[in-house]
Each structure stands twice: as C-alpha cells, then as structure tokens.
C-alpha cells in the first residue's frame, strides 16, 4: 500500500481532490456553542460547526479532546451517561435535537452509530442485521419474512459483507473475524436505513487490511448518507473525509481539561494549509 507517510502526498493523490466543497450542500447538523458536561466536569465547550449532506466529516485530535463526546451528542447517546448535560444548540435538518418532546428513539432511527469495538449481539448474522428493522416494525405492524430477507441482504451488500457470509447467515455473528464483525455492525446500522452514520473510531481495533475495507465502504456509503467519523488516525481522515474538524484539549487554571474546536475546514485545507499553528503541529506529528 503506497498510502505514503506524508499526508500531503496522500491528499494530493485522491482523485476527488478536484471536488469543490461549496457550502451549498444542505446542512445536516448545526452545532452552536455546544457544551457537554459530565457531572461538574466540562468535557467539551464552545463548539460551533455545520455538517453537510453526503459528505464525510472527520473529527480529529489528541485523546481527551472531546471529539467522541461531540459525536455522541449528535444522536443523544450522551443521554445514557448518568450526569451528562448538553447545552448550546444542536440542530438536525433545522430541528432542535434537544428540544422539548424530542424522542431519542426517533433521533437514533435517523442517525445511526458504529462504535470503536465491534459489538455483534450473541445472535446469528441474520438476526444481528434484522434486529433493528424488527424493532422498528414492532411499532407499526410486523415485517413480512421476504421483506426482512431483502432488508438483510441489502444491508449486508451495502456493508460489503454479503459475499462472505451469504452461506452462513444462521451462524453466530461472534464467529466472524474482527473486521467482519465491524462490517456486520455497519450492516446492522445500515439496515435501519439511517440518514446519517456516526462512526466512533471504527477502525482502531482492526488491522490495516480490514481498515482499508472499511474506508472503501465509507467512500461508497457517502453517496447514500452523511457520515461523521471520529478518528485518532490522521491519515485516515486525510484519505476519506471531505471536511475535517480539529479538536484539542486546553487545561484551565484549575487544572481541568476541556476539549474545544480549533479549526474546521475542507480536509485539503486542514492538511495542506492549516490556518492555526496547533493544527499544523498536530498533523505534522509534532504533538498528540
């Protein structure tokens, strides 16, 4: 793999470098002065940015800079953490995600998520993928068997896993390899037919070959959905993303660390002509 060690080279080699990124693409997420606290600790503060439709937006930065926290606030996963509080404004296609009466279940039906470690359920491959559609159908009548079969095949094909597992749909999801498990989790998320896919370091537990497969998959999925990915792997951000947000952690006078957004721009610009000194230091490997 000649991905190269220099991000600049990698970036220049990407064919869609010519793709211009006007702000014309509809805004999917609008974050305004977002602040997330866990108990009394402010994990991240003052994040203002927009995520655009059918683009891959990468959130990068050193550990503890709050990039995962920001990601988890986009589909209200932070609700599940006791003591977590979100302030500021997060809109999804113009609707306030934290407005009164917003059902987190409805939010997560539109905004799927893939986690760092593959988490297949202790069920068969088929049941893993069918799990989301079945739960959704539970609310409005049953899904017919043929329909469910189609959904499962569609999702597994979408996650580039169908050819590898089509003959063993009844075997356990846990019997797959790590990379396959992660693609199974992506298929499981696709099966709900979300509008947005959030990915929280989806490749950090995988080997380079599996990582390459997931990255290819992301580039294909971008035609159908908006993707936001958290990664601590700069080359990955350079390879796949259209826009990149760089976060860092500040230590305040009381010694507490708060994550904050430093710079957000087209990926090409972040990696070739960063506006902020800290971004440049980070991507050139001088810290983090």
């Amino acid at each position: 793999m000649a991905t190269g060690l220099s991000t600049h080279v990698t970036a220049r080699r990407r064919p869609r470098r010519t793709r211009t990124l006007p702000d014309l693409a509809p805004v999917v997420f609008g974050l305004a002065r977002l602040q997330v606290s866990y108990g009394r600790h402010r994990a991240v503060r003052d994040v203002t940015m927009t995520v655009h439709e059918r683009e891959i937006t990468a959130l990068i930065g050193p550990s503890g800079c709050g990039k995962s926290t920001v990601l988890r606030s986009l589909n209200r996963m932070n609700d599940l953490v006791p003591g977590a509080r979100v302030s500021g404004r997060v809109t999804y296609r113009g609707h306030d995600l934290y407005g009164p009466g917003v059902d987190p279940i409805e939010v997560r039906r539109r905004i799927g998520m893939v986690f760092q470690r593959p988490t297949p359920f202790a069920k068969s491959i088929y049941d893993n993928v069918a799990y989301g559609p079945r739960a959704a159908a539970g609310r409005r009548g049953r899904l017919r068997k043929a329909e469910l079969d189609d959904r499962v095949e569609e999702a597994l094909t979408g996650a580039a896993l169908w050819d590898e597992v089509k003959d063993k749909l009844k075997s356990s999801g846990l019997a797959l390899s790590g990379g396959q498990q992660q693609r199974l989790c992506i298929a499981r998320a696709i099966a709900v037919r979300p509008d947005v896919m959030l990915m929280d370091e989806p490749c950090s537990a995988l080997d380079p070959v599996a990582t390459a497969k997931i990255e290819d998959l992301m580039l294909r999925l971008r035609h159908e959905m908006t993707i936001v990915i958290v990664t601590h792997h700069m080359h990955q951000a350079a390879r796949v993303s259209d826009r990149t947000a760089f976060f860092t952690a500040d230590t305040d006078s009381e010694g507490e660390r708060h994550g904050r957004l430093v710079e957000y721009d087209a990926t090409e610009k972040i990696f070739n002509r960063p506006a902020d000194r800290r971004t440049e230091d980070y991507i050139s490997g001088r810290f983090g």
């Binding site: 599940l80 409805e106 997560r108 799927g112 988490t119």
Partner: protein, 359 residues
C-alpha cells in the same frame, strides 16, 4: 559463523557464573517413597491400637516434616518450603473432601435398602411397620418447590432487572440492603412468617402446601436476585449502547439483548437457588406439615415433603424402628438425587440457551 559457534562451544571455556543454573535435587521418586513410609508408619500405629483419626493425622504430619527436612538438607529452603506447602494444601483438600464422601457414602449405603419401586409408588397411608413409601412426599416436594420457584423467579428476576437497568438512588440502595438482609434470614423465621401470614386469613393451626411455597420463596428470592444481578452486570454496556444506537427502546433492548446474553448464567443461578431450598425442613414443618396420605392440592390441607418425611420417620419410628429408619434414609437419597438431577438440568439449560458464539 554459526557452525563454528556450535562446534567450538564445548571446547571453549565456559564463562563462570556467580551462582550455578542447576541445583541439587531429590531423586524423582522421593516424595512417593516418603509418603509410603509415612502411610506404613500410620498403619503400624493403627495396628498398635491408636485410633484411626490419630494415626492418619500423625502420618500426615510425619510426611510433611520428613519431606521438608530432607528437601531442606538437599535442595535448599525454597524448594523445601514448596514441598511443605504442597503437603499441607493436599491434606487440607483431603480433609475437606472427607465429610462430603462420608455423607454420600452413608446415604447411598443406608438409603439403597428401601430404594425400590414400592418406595416410589406407595404413600404411608395405613402403613404400620414395614412397606410403604414416599410417593406422597416426592409429589409434595415437587409441588411445593415448583410453586416456590414460580413465585420467586419472576419476582427475583424483575427485581434484579430493576436494580441493574433502572435503579438509581435511594430506592435501589434500600432494595439492595433488604435483599442482603433477606439472605441472612434463618429458614425457621421464613416458615413462621408464612404461618403468621396465612393465620391472618385462616384459623390458627392452618397447614397448606402453598404456605410452604411462600416460606421457601422468602428464602429463594434473595438468591435469585443476587445471582441474576451478577449475571446482568456481566453484560457489557457496549452491547446496550449498540442496541440503543439502532433506535431500539430500552425495554426491548433488555428483552432481546441483555437477557439472552445472560440467560445461561441466570438459569444456572435459578437452579442452584431451587437446589438450595428444596432440602429445607424447618419452614416446611410449620407450614406444609406432616401427613401420611397423597395430597396434590397445595391449597387444601397438609402436604408431605421429602425432608419433613425423612425427619418424621426418624423422630417417631414405629415398633420395631428399622423400617422407619430405612424409609428416612431412602428419602434422603431421593432428595440428593433430585438435587443432582437439577444440577444436570441446569447444565443442559445453560448449554441450550447459551448465546451462540460458535459457527
């Protein structure tokens, strides 16, 4: 280079190490030999008229001292200490095994005498002296314990689900505390509680199978809560999050992901809880009572159970007493077999329900 290296190695002078890599050690058969000598010495003491237990203890001590001193003289302190601790641990293991084997042997030996078809097909109705059986008690035990499980399993499991998945703050803390307290309730207190409860609704001196079930539930619920709670805590939080991220509501996540993942452990815990209460005697004595006849209706009158049957046959034997004693031992053997059967069933269940991990 490498060939020269290997070829010339023996010829070269070996660099001197400050301490050698090898130690002197005892001959390979040293330990069995010393053990044999110790056992023969113990046998000699026994033949000389010393009690069996003293002979065994002296043989064990003799072996430990002998192997330690010999090893210390030849192999050094570290190895000697290792051999001594090995001897002590093995002795402790044998000591712990002794009562288990003894009980099992005694029960099988004395219980097999009446372990016949008559024992399983006759009640004690109209039986004086020989014959008769525990048919009524076996059925009674199964009914009483079965109903106790029917009460305890839902209550216990739902409590555990509340504590792990929903419980926050004061209520959860109180429930945990009272479950702990319930674990320590003496079984006779549970029996008296059930009696007092039913006396509120019926006349004094009331005896019913269902009362026994309630008493056993009091003992069983905390065990079910505890074991289920531990199993649910083992389910990784990542699985719950993955399910929520697929827009699945909490109740459905618990039902479809959390419980199936933990079901094998929960089933084992429940079976162990049943095994724990099925042999209870005191609470059943004051609730289900004693009877010589078949009674399959837990809501009407006294109901025999195996443990109470065994106790009663021993406490008030007929004349001559031997047939009663035989029946008591046979009942004890039956009870042990039921518990063993339950454990087998638990293993089977956990194998059947175990989450699929293999292809």
């Amino acid at each position: 280079m490498t060939s020269a290296h290997t070829a010339s190695a023996p010829a070269e002078a070996e660099p001197q190490l400050q301490t050698p890599l090898t130690h002197r050690s005892l001959p390979r058969r040293a330990a069995p030999a010393v053990l044999l000598v110790a056992l023969l010495a113990g046998l000699g003491l026994r033949l000389a008229g010393l009690a069996l237990a003293w002979s065994a203890i002296l043989a064990a001590v003799g072996y430990t001292v002998a192997i330690y001193s010999w090893s210390r003289a030849v192999e050094g302190t570290r190895k000697a200490f290792d051999r001594m601790v090995t001897a002590i641990v093995t002795s402790a293991f044998l000591l712990a095994l002794l009562p288990l084997v003894s009980v099992l042997w005694t029960v099988v030996d004395r219980g097999s005498g009446r372990f016949d078809s008559e024992f399983f097909s006759y009640s004690m109705r109209g039986i004086v002296g020989e014959g008769g059986g525990a048919h009524h008690a076996i059925i009674g035990t199964l009914i009483v314990t079965g109903i106790a499980a029917l009460i305890s399993v839902p209550v216990g499991m739902l409590t555990a689900i509340y504590l792990v998945e929903y419980g926050r703050g004061r209520l959860a803390r109180y429930i945990t505390f009272f479950v702990d307290v319930m674990t320590g309730v003496p079984s006779i207190v549970a029996g008296l509680f059930a009696y007092a409860l039913f006396e509120l609704f019926y006349e004094a001196g009331v005896r019913m199978g269902i009362m026994g079930s309630v008493a056993l539930s009091v003992l069983m619920i905390p065990i079910v809560v505890r074991s289920t709670e531990e199993m649910l805590k083992l389910v990784p939080n990542e699985l719950r999050e993955a399910s929520y991220a697929l827009a699945v509501p909490k109740w459905r996540t618990i039902l479809r992901v959390v419980l199936p993942t933990a079901v094998a452990g929960i089933a084992t815990g429940i079976t162990l809880a049943i095994a724990r209460v099925i042999g209870e005697t005191a609470p059943l004595l004051v609730t289900a009572g004693v009877t010589a006849s078949d009674n399959f209706n837990p809501f009407d009158g006294r109901m025999a159970t195996l443990s109470v049957f065994s106790y009663n046959e021993y406490r008030s034997p007929g004349v001559p007493p031997e047939p009663s004693f035989d029946r008591a031992w046979a009942a004890a053997l039956t009870l042990i077999l039921i518990v063993m059967l339950l454990n087998l069933v638990a293993r089977l269940i956990s194998r059947l329900f175990a989450p699929k991990t293999r292809a």
